[in-house]
């Protein structure tokens, strides 16, 4: 089935099984920044942004992306260089496997009301880092929010 949507700011048309998961389809487009972690919507490594909100691409049926605005970490890196810079400045990563998802979650954080450090923690809690380098990730997100 032909599926039309906006991908990283440009209109895209793909020919895919509409029941395939968005994660696999996106990676097949050579956008391999989006990682598979748990595969069940828990860890956040595969986070993409759909209409401004974070979505687990591993449990997102690609047919549901018709006419929607989709961003992956490749597009966000170009669109929000400040955010990437804050992750680098704060060394907000260790092994790196969760990093694209952490960045996508941080990029989508404006979709909710954040009024405190606690809110940031609760929001980012959905993205797991098995190196447990949470503090530097939170520092990066807080730094980014402070300038935006």
């Amino acid at each position: 089935m032909k599926i039309n949507f906006t991908l990283n700011g440009k209109s895209a048309e793909i020919d895919a099984d509409p029941m395939a998961m968005a994660l696999d389809v996106i990676r097949d487009l050579d956008l391999t920044g989006t990682k598979e972690g748990c595969g069940v919507g828990v860890c956040g490594a595969c986070t993409i942004m759909v209409d401004g909100e974070p979505v687990s691409s591993c449990i997102c049926v690609v047919g549901t992306l018709q006419d929607r605005e989709v961003w992956t970490v490749e597009g966000i890196s170009e669109k929000m260089p400040d955010l990437i810079e804050k992750f680098i400045d704060n060394e907000g990563m260790q092994c790196g496997i969760c990093t694209p998802g952490q960045i996508m979650a941080a990029a989508a954080i404006s979709s909710v009301d954040i009024t405190s450090e606690e809110d940031i923690k609760k929001y980012m809690a959905g993205n797991l880092c098995r190196c447990t380098g949470y503090q530097t990730i939170l520092n990066a997100v807080e730094d980014y929010l402070a300038i935006n």
Binding site: G44, E53, S56, T64, G126
Partner: protein
């Protein structure tokens, strides 16, 4: 991935959706947080999936003087961030805001959550405590079912196979307070060991209590409505002793099982603790 080809349809009207669902083992797809997982792991292999996201009629929240109406495709993130709803029905917005993680809340829909009928879900107890009614449509017509009578067992509801949840209706009741509390000893995003929704409705003078609802999740095959506990609170007009008695009585109403979130005994104890806390928060 399932080996058989599954057809994907995205109807734009309720009539179209009802027509599309009347086909072999077709199923509805809402946000997909549960259905896509079941599909991926081959626990379901439907011949056709009818996605409801293109159906604009199901995506609104309307609030009038007497009633709140939430379309079945409204997401948990939208519910949890509605200031108007958090004033009127705080138990619901709290429950919707603690489900899973931000990604689950963005995708998961209220209709999907009700149809899924996992007894550990946070939102059903909140909605039952608020006297919510589920409105459905099918080729045979439409009906409304109180959510308190909606669940039949683990993952089972009164819904017929081709019946579509169109909206959830919640009465706006004067002098009603509500709260939802959950207890997760593991990670924030996990299902709760126990969740407790409470609502307390005062009379027009805001003095005597005329109605109480206490509903628990995670401690039975369906959400549990603890009517004896609620009666205690009414009889004692929520004096401290009545709250303690009500919380203690909850242990007889729940029917928990041992799992990784705690032993049955532990869940029974936590049901008491969190019922008391939910009632106190409701009355604070």
């Amino acid at each position: 991935m399932p080996s058989t080809k599954t057809e994907f349809l995205a109807p734009t009207s309720i009539d179209e959706a009802l027509q599309a669902i009347s086909y072999e083992d077709a199923i509805f797809l809402g946000g997909g947080t549960s259905t896509a997982l079941l599909y991926k792991t081959r626990l379901i292999e439907p011949s056709r999936v009818v996605w409801l996201g293109a159906l604009r009629d199901l995506s609104g929240i309307s609030i009038s003087k007497n009633e709140i109406r939430i379309g079945s495709m409204v997401s948990m993130s939208k519910i949890s961030q509605s200031n108007e709803l958090s004033q009127l029905v705080p138990a619901l917005t709290t429950a919707a805001g603690v489900i899973g993680n931000a990604r689950v809340r963005a995708m998961a829909t209220i209709g999907g959550a009700l149809a899924h009928a996992d007894p550990r879900q946070d939102v059903p107890p909140a909605l039952i405590a608020l006297d919510a009614v589920v409105a459905t449509k099918s080729s045979g017509g439409s009906r409304e079912v109180p959510l308190a009578e909606f669940y039949e067992g683990f993952l089972e509801t009164v819904l017929a196979e081709s019946e579509l949840i169109t909206e959830v209706k919640i009465p706006v009741v004067a002098n009603r307070r509500s709260a939802y509390l959950r207890y997760t000893p593991t990670s924030e995003g996990d299902y709760p060991t126990v969740g407790v929704a409470a609502s307390v409705t005062y009379d027009s003078n805001n003095k005597a209590i005329k109605d109480v609802r206490i509903v628990l999740c995670g401690v039975g095959q369906t959400p549990i409505l603890a009517t004896d506990s609620a009666q205690k609170v009414i009889e004692g007009n929520a004096n401290p002793e009545s709250l303690r008695e009500a919380a203690n009585l909850v242990k007889q109403a729940v029917d928990p099982h041992d799992d990784e979130r705690g032993s049955a005994d532990y869940k029974r104890e936590m049901s008491e603790v969190f019922t008391l806390r939910a009632l106190r928060e409701c009355l604070a």
